[in-house]
């Protein structure tokens, strides 16, 4: 079962891919990107002419010896990362 979080996180990127992130003061190293997709924002609901898109990554990441699956989200308009859910 997955749990929903929605916590702001800090993410390191290499070649356009996330490689590690810090969540609740712990550093997670990304081992594998399982899936990646994009959802355009509902631009017609805002007065902004381009509200950007949301990019999702589903990754396998480990902190120490504990490993789990996490869903990360990047919002291009705000430039901020969230940890959306975790399977651990």
């Amino acid at each position: 079962m997955s749990r929903l979080y929605g916590d702001p996180i800090e993410v390191w990127i290499r070649d356009g891919q996330p490689v590690q992130f810090v969540w609740r003061d712990r550093l997670y190293a990304i081992r594998e990107v399982q899936d990646h997709w994009v959802v355009a924002r509902e631009w017609w609901k805002t007065s902004d002419s381009d509200p950007g898109e949301r990019r999702f990554w589903r990754v396998v990441a480990a902190t120490g010896r504990e490993s789990g699956t996490y869903e990360l989200r990047f919002d291009t308009a705000g430039g901020d990362w969230l940890l959306l859910r975790a399977w651990d």
Binding site: D35, H36, W37, V38, V39, A40, E42, W43, W44, S47, S49, D50, E53, F56
Partner: protein
């Protein structure tokens, strides 16, 4: 590595789906270094020809395919217990949200004909506008008779196979792919990843499926945009196409990735799909290229005109060698037309035939001649128009009736060695019989060889606002008001129009909440919206026609090519323009009325063409209703020019064009014509070509002759040079060629310089004399009918509405010509306007040319009446009572009430509207209207026919008041769209006299510069192209004594535009301008809505009205003055307002969305959205 090739690309010709035009897509592909590009539009090949041309221009190989809805997929037994893919896909709703599955079919290198035929078949099986294919249909077309593959089928994520994969039903996917593979030899799996949720996953598994079954796989990007940012427009189109508001569920691509990516981006996608396996990715890309290579088409095969030297045309078959046949027909023609002994004619014929035979067009001329003969044999009036009138061959074989030798018309303007492309023969027929003509042509040549030409209707301001408003969820009535507030401008001008036009600036549309709607609407600018039948083009090919063009059905069920008129020509198909001309129908109708009423049969083509009375009528500008010369500007011009011969009319028509007006030919011509100044010829040798127009260049033909005389290059070369004059670069090139050559030919420098200045000013404008000659004949004929058979003429004009003016204006003109206007009468009215003999009572009017005749209002003029009702009403005459009429003619209740309200039963029941209103014991119209209700209730109860009508319900005579005269006229305007019993302005006479309004008939007595008040009902507003680059509003009022022409310059539009466009009855203040012996117009200073003044007068008295009339408008502040917008400037300095030639907005006045409550809702005045001539770039 070899470049990536996009195999799945939708252009804007995927209606309400794509956003980029083929040319832009091909350009971008070339920038990306791609050497091929496929265009696979949805549902048709609408953009295919443009794509092939664009690719050819950029040196890349074109690939063409189509993206079609798939129905009734393979029944794959044992896997899915018979549920069809389509239904399954709808329920599952993945990858397309309820959209049906689709497949892409590409033509292999030898498969163009098969693709055309597949598209035609897909349209044949589907409902109109909803083509689809089944696997069987694809299979039928996919192989040649020899068994070789002709088509390649791409099964992508939207196909039945792709959907099964997405739903994780791998066995089913495998079975479906297997079924496809056994039905069609060339099947490939198409994988796509637009970064949507699960896209990559599905693609990876489709790739796996393909590999495990040994089916090739290709990578595409389902391209529909040029830039990522266009996806918003795509979302709007998705919602508009499905008539739903914007919602994530309604958009097809939830990401912004469906754009034309470059090779590197696509390589990244390939690696992603292949799970990082670079080898596998490389193989996928290589496979994509291999499929592309076997689909590359030869552009010249599809677009023969790319080979300018020797285009392979698809000519009609006529069963024998056309060359000797045409020769012998021409020979016969020489004898029949009495030209067999004329050396000129023989010489000309030989020259024309030489070119025709060299271009292998003999068969085309024979076919066109056969068609015109076919049309005439049906008793349809038929005339040649355009440059075709310049050909002697056309005259000899009976296509046209204008002798080119007589008018100095040149063939080179129509057909010449140097001319690329095909000749255009245009035929005018009666508009009411145009479709009959199409049917006859189809009947003669068979559906397989004939098709109509189509055209794309594109988004303009109003349609774009409507669609965007709907998807943004605005209420429908608000959308309607907003859309109608805009004039007919381009969508991209919306926000500019809002700030430029005074009538919109203060309209309340500048609200911030509408900004998004306008911004998006602008981005729809010019995108194709739907396909329609071209108004005149007919393709005439041979039995292989459908190998060269896909055909679908038009709204009226005609076979219609998916190509527009330019594509058709490029594709090497011959077309004939059969144009419906309402004036031809109107004249045919007039002739029938003359024969019916007077028993005279008139052969209009045999009427002498020098009738003094007719030219007198034209010379005083009394030309309302006549062909070509009825607009305010033309009435002014004919009054100045005073035509006396056919040739004068030809000149008149040619002068009234943007070109001559622009290069100021009108004034010098008129001065020379009336002898105020000597004609001026740059050189003695130019006297001959220019004499007919007193030294002024008016016609294309004269330009050709001037160039020919001065350079000795021959007329064919001269025609080439004339065409080049249309652009600044072309003019430079012609100058560099012309000047030295003319000097070599012995012309002095100053002469050459002067001649060049004339050619330069002429630019690409001017008019083809052949065209004008073809127009002049119906112009004269219509004026002749008006002069000698006024009532019958007006009956034809009112029935077929050929001109710019609404019915009430024509009716008033008839009244002024002495024709009696006879009200609707159930016992006398017919299905169309009819003439009756009268005693010529009250009507004294202009010259009384129509005296002794009356015009009877027909049943068909009643608002809302159906053809079937009109038929029954006419057939049932005579009637004995309202009940009898109700019983036998069976009108609907509202129609019956309207007929009573406008007096249709007055004669029968002895009614008379007017005072006194209360007439005890005497029947009134209102009593009768009440009785219609009673009759309706009685028949509704199911007792009709059993009880005598009288017993149904009794309405006592005199129970209700009679209508006043004003009410009667109001009802006429509302129901018939015209004031029949009295001119509407007469109700305001008292007020108008009190404020001292000048009447139209008294205008001629005023001195130049006098400042006066005028009033009238608005007849027309036009904003034509004028020299100064301003938007000038020309308005014509009618005050029952004649027309009053007003000109509103930009300086007064800030305080007048909203009133001019928004009101119907107007009072205006203006300065008299005498423009000719019999021509007067007014420069407007201010104007008011007469109904507002009337209310003011009733409420506050005459002094309040005078106060309003005497106030000076506040000087507009600098920013808000007049009309904004940068004038469009042409190469020769000609400036044009961006809002010229655009119909005004109809709905705006006095703040947001308010319509005048008393303003009639029907079309009572003319608002031009048409053109005052060809666009400057044309021909």
């Amino acid at each position: 590595m070899a470049p990536f090739i996009h195999l799945h690309t939708a252009s804007a010709y995927s209606l309400r789906y794509g956003t980029a035009f083929p040319d832009a897509l091909a350009g971008r592909a070339a920038e990306h270094g791609m050497d091929m590009l496929a265009l696979t539009d949805r549902d048709g090949l609408y953009g295919a020809i443009k794509h092939v041309q664009a690719c050819h221009d950029r040196g890349i190989a074109p690939i063409v395919g189509v993206d079609l809805v798939l129905r009734d997929g393979h029944a794959v037994h044992g896997v899915d217990s018979g549920v069809h893919g389509a239904e399954r896909g709808k329920r599952a709703g993945s990858a397309g949200h309820g959209e049906p599955p689709r497949v892409v079919v590409l033509a292999r290198s030898d498969g163009w004909a098969a693709l055309c035929r597949l598209v035609t078949a897909a349209h044949q099986v589907g409902e109109r506008g909803e083509p689809y294919v089944t696997p069987e249909l694809v299979a039928e077309h996919a192989v040649s008779t020899g068994g070789g593959p002709r088509l390649t089928v791409l099964l992508g994520p939207r196909s039945d196979v792709g959907r099964a994969v997405a739903e994780r039903r791998d066995d089913r996917a495998r079975a479906l792919l297997d079924a496809w593979r056994s039905a069609v030899p060339d099947v490939v799996v198409e994988v796509t990843d637009l970064y949507g949720y699960r896209d990559a996953n599905t693609a990876t598994r489709m790739l796996g499926l393909a590999r495990s079954m040994g089916v090739p796989a290709v990578l595409t990007n389902e391209v529909r945009h040029l830039h990522a940012a266009d996806h918003q427009v795509g979302d709007v189109l998705d919602a508009a196409r499905r008539l739903v508001p914007l919602h994530p569920r309604h958009v097809e691509h939830p990401t912004a990735h469906a754009y034309l990516k470059d090779g590197r981006e696509m390589a990244r996608v390939a690696v992603r799909i292949c799970g990082g396996d670079l080898d596998l990715a490389e193989r996928l890309l290589a496979q994509t290229r291999r499929v592309a290579e076997r689909c590359a088409l030869d552009p010249v095969e599809i677009v023969p005109l790319l080979d300018a030297e020797d285009p392979r045309l698809h000519l009609p078959e006529i069963g024998e060698d056309p060359v000797p046949l045409l020769r012998s027909r021409c020979e016969d023609g020489l004898n029949r037309r009495g030209l067999d002994r004329t050396a000129d004619a023989r010489h000309r014929l030989a020259a024309e035939l030489a070119i025709i035979e060299k271009k292998r067009l003999s068969g085309y001329f024979i076919t066109v001649a056969d068609i015109t003969e076919l049309i005439r044999s049906m008793g349809v009036r038929c005339a040649i128009r355009g440059s075709g009138a310049g050909s002697l061959v056309n005259y000899l074989i009976g296509i046209g009736d204008v002798n080119p030798l007589e008018h100095g018309l040149l063939m080179e303007r129509f057909l010449s060695e140097g001319r690329r492309g095909l000749p255009d023969i245009d035929i005018d027929v009666e508009s009411a019989r145009r479709l009959d003509c199409y049917r006859a042509i189809l009947g003669r040549y068979g559906e397989a060889g004939v098709a109509c030409v189509s055209m794309m209707e594109t988004y303009r301001a109003r349609s774009a606002i409507r669609d965007v408003g709907a998807v943004m969820g605005l209420p429908p009535h608000e959308i309607d008001v907003i859309a109608k507030a805009f004039p007919h401008v381009r969508a991209r001008q919306i926000r500019a129009a809002l700030s430029d036009l005074p009538e919109l600036r203060d309209s309340g549309l500048n609200d911030r909440s509408l900004q998004t709607v306008f911004r998006l609407a602008e981005r729809l600018d010019g995108l194709p919206r739907h396909i329609a039948l071209h108004p005149c083009g007919v393709l005439i090919g041979n039995s292989s026609l459908r190998d060269h063009t896909p055909v679908e059905r038009s709204m009226l069920d005609f076979p219609m090519s998916q190509f527009d008129k330019d594509d058709v020509e490029a594709a090497g198909l011959l077309k004939l323009d059969v144009l419906g001309v309402r004036m031809q129908s109107a004249m045919a109708c007039s002739l029938r009325e003359i024969e019916r009423v007077d028993g005279r049969k008139i052969d209009l083509d045999a009427v002498p063409r020098d009738d003094r009375d007719t030219y007198d009528l034209i010379g005083v500008g009394r030309t309302l209703g006549c062909f070509q010369i009825e607009s305010p500007g033309q009435r002014e011009l004919v009054a100045k020019l005073e035509p006396r011969t056919m040739h004068d009319l030809i000149v008149d028509i040619s002068l009234f064009r943007p070109g001559p007006v622009n290069s100021d030919m009108v004034t010098p011509y008129l001065e020379a014509r009336h002898g105020f100044r000597e004609p001026d010829y740059p050189h003695e040798r130019l006297r001959e070509p220019l004499r007919e127009t007193h030294g002024v260049v008016v016609f294309h033909e004269q330009v050709l002759r001037v160039i020919d005389v001065m350079t000795g290059c021959g007329l064919s070369e001269a025609e080439k040079a004339r065409r080049a004059l249309g652009t600044p670069e072309g003019r430079e090139a012609v100058r560099a060629w012309f000047v030295p050559l003319a000097r070599e030919n012995g012309f002095a420098s100053d002469v050459v310089e002067r001649a060049w200045r004339v050619l330069d000013a002429f630019g690409g404008f001017g008019f083809c004399k052949a065209h004008a000659a073809a127009f002049a004949l119906p112009t004269y004929q219509s004026a002749w009918l008006k002069r000698h058979h006024a009532a019958a003429f007006f009956a034809g004009v009112l029935t077929h509405e050929p001109g710019m003016y609404p019915g009430r204006v024509i009716l008033d003109e008839a009244r002024q010509c002495g024709v009696d206007i006879l009200p609707l009468d159930v016992n006398h009215s017919g299905g169309t306007w009819q003439v009756e003999r009268t005693t010529g009572t009250g009507a004294r009017g202009h010259a009384g040319i129509g005296r002794g005749y009356g015009l009877r209002v027909p049943f068909s003029a009643v608002k809302g009446v159906s053809d079937a009702e009109v038929g029954r009403m006419v057939a049932g005459r005579p009637y004995t009572s309202l009940a009898d009429f109700w019983e036998r003619a069976r009108p609907s209740r509202p129609v019956a009430e309207r007929i009573v309200a406008v007096g249709g039963l007055d004669a029968l029941h002895g009614l008379r509207p007017g005072e006194p209103r209360w007439r005890p014991g005497e029947l009134t119209r209102r009593d009768l209207i009440a009785q219609v209700g009673a009759l309706d209730r009685a028949s509704g109860a199911g007792t009709a026919g059993q009880l005598p009508m009288g017993f149904a319900e009794r309405v006592a005579p005199g129970e209700l008041p009679e209508m006043s005269e004003a009410e009667a006229v109001e009802a006429e305007l509302e129901i018939l769209g015209m004031d029949v019993s009295r001119h509407v302005i007469t109700f305001h006479d008292e007020l108008l006299d009190a404020i001292g309004v000048t009447r139209s008939r008294d205008l001629l007595r005023l001195r130049n510069g006098a400042e006066i008040l005028v009033a009238g009902a608005k007849v027309a507003t036009q904003t034509p192209a004028v020299r100064s680059g301003q938007r000038v509003i020309f308005t014509t009022l009618d005050d029952s004594t004649g027309p009053i022409d007003l000109t509103f310059f930009e300086s007064v539009q800030a305080h007048t535009a909203a009133t001019v466009f928004g009101s119907w009855l107007l009072v205006a203040r203006g300065v008299v301008r005498r423009t000719g012996g019999r021509a007067v117009s007014l420069r407007a200073l201010h104007c008011w809505n007469l109904l507002d003044l009337d209310r003011l007068w009733r409420d506050h008295g005459i002094d309040a009205v005078r106060a309003v009339l005497s106030e000076t408008p506040a000087p507009p502040d600098a920013a808000g003055a007049g009309v904004g917008g940068r004038p469009i400037e042409y190469g020769n300095g000609y400036r044009l307002s961006p809002y010229s030639d655009i119909g005004p907005a109809s709905g705006v006045r006095e703040g947001p969305f308010l319509r005048h409550p008393e303003e009639p809702q029907r079309r009572l005045w003319h608002a031009s959205s048409g053109s005052s001539g060809p666009a400057p770039s044309a021909r």
